[in-house]
């Protein structure tokens, strides 16, 4: 009898504990949701898209972006020369265009010229 009563009391305690815990969890979840929605609104309002990426990570991107543009331009130009028989004009034109594409890549990587206001 006495044991039963104590068990019941224990269970009562435990259920109130769990109720309190789940209430705290729910409040925490709500706060997290709020935080998250405010974060998304902040990023949506046009801050730099990679603002939390470390500077080093962004810096490492730049060098290869330029090279990649030139390489693609040269490859296309060489292929046109080879199969189109217009040597050397394909290579000349496409290396120049590839260089422009590389510069555009770097500008995009450095997030210059991504917003309409930046475009001159």
């Amino acid at each position: 009898m006495a044991d039963d009563a104590r068990d019941a009391g224990d269970q009562g305690d435990r259920s109130t504990d769990e109720a309190a815990l789940s209430a705290r969890l729910r409040r925490l979840g709500e706060r997290l949701d709020q935080e998250r929605s405010s974060q998304t609104s902040r990023t949506a309002s046009g801050a730099s898209p990679t603002s939390d990426g470390s500077g080093l990570a962004r810096g490492l991107r730049l060098s290869s972006e330029l090279v990649a543009g030139v390489v693609v331009g040269a490859l296309i130009g060489w292929a046109l020369d080879h199969w189109g028989g217009i040597s050397p004009w394909g290579l000349i034109v496409f290396v120049l265009l590839g260089f422009a594409a590389g510069v555009r890549n770097v500008m995009r990587a450095a997030t210059i010229g991504n917003t309409p206001n930046d475009r001159g």
Binding site: S54, R61, R104
Partner: protein, 248 residues
């Protein structure tokens, strides 16, 4: 002593034959499987308990999850979370392959262009397929920036297309070149230590400098291993963002 020797692919045992082409299980394949197995072990083992207060391993798993999720949210927005499994798999695979490659006698999987190119092309094709599937022909707006005078528009579109085509190249070469160059530098400086060490007492004193550099470079390479995985993931997100919202 040969600094390139570490990138050699060794055949471990033959798998199957198609026509005259033989397919072998290589050391590269072994380390790729090891990277995937370790990732799975970490994620499955860490989440087995599902403790409210996370232990060490669960903390690592949760931090990596949050890190990738935040990267996607900040670059591709909430819609980008559709691609979370893809980006997370890429990030963990590259990270584990990079870090495993730093262990002495291990093979650096990402130091081979074919591996990184396959990963980058996977992203490229995903962007193309998803972009056309979701936006249809509006996907071409990606190549037509707004507010450009009509007389230079053809030139600009051409340049934008070239710039788009150069993405898988810069995406793959960056990772491959960083890992390759890092491992060669490490090997060369470590080679100086043994060369100078063979010269007697004076050589031993001289060897202190390259030894110190090797230690410092190992730390740098650990940073590079992590950073390159991060750069690979963040670029994937940026490219996926173009597929989700073309022509911003």
């Amino acid at each position: 002593m040969d600094p390139i020797h570490q990138f050699e692919i060794n055949k471990l045992f033959p798998l199957f034959k198609i026509g005259s082409a033989e397919f072998h299980f290589t050391n590269s394949a072994a380390f790729m499987i090891l990277a995937v197995a370790l990732t799975m072990l970490l994620m499955l083992g860490a989440t087995a308990q599902r403790a409210l207060v996370p232990g060490r391993f669960q903390s690592i798993a949760e931090i990596s999850f949050e890190f990738v999720a935040n990267t996607i949210r900040s670059t591709a927005g909430e819609e980008g979370m559709k691609f979370f499994p893809f980006v997370f798999s890429l990030f963990m695979f590259v990270l584990f392959a990079n870090v495993l490659g730093l262990i002495p006698y291990a093979f650096a999987v990402t130091s081979h262009l074919i591996i990184t190119a396959a990963l980058a092309l996977m992203v490229f094709v995903t962007v193309l397929v998803y972009g056309f599937w979701k936006n249809g022909l509006r996907f071409f707006k990606l190549f037509v920036p707004s507010g450009i005078p009509i007389y230079i528009l053809p030139l600009i579109v051409f340049i934008e297309v070239l710039s788009f085509l150069s993405r898988p190249i810069s995406h793959s070469v960056r990772l491959f070149a960083n890992i390759l160059a890092g491992h060669i530098t490490l090997k060369v400086f470590a080679g100086f230590v043994t060369m100078l060490g063979g010269l007697g007492l004076l050589g031993w004193i001289g060897a202190v400098l390259p030894l110190g550099l090797t230690v410092a470079l190992t730390a740098l390479e650990l940073l590079v291993a992590f950073l390159q995985a991060y750069v690979f993931a963040i670029l994937t997100c940026i490219y996926l963002n173009d597929a989700i919202h073309p022509g911003h």
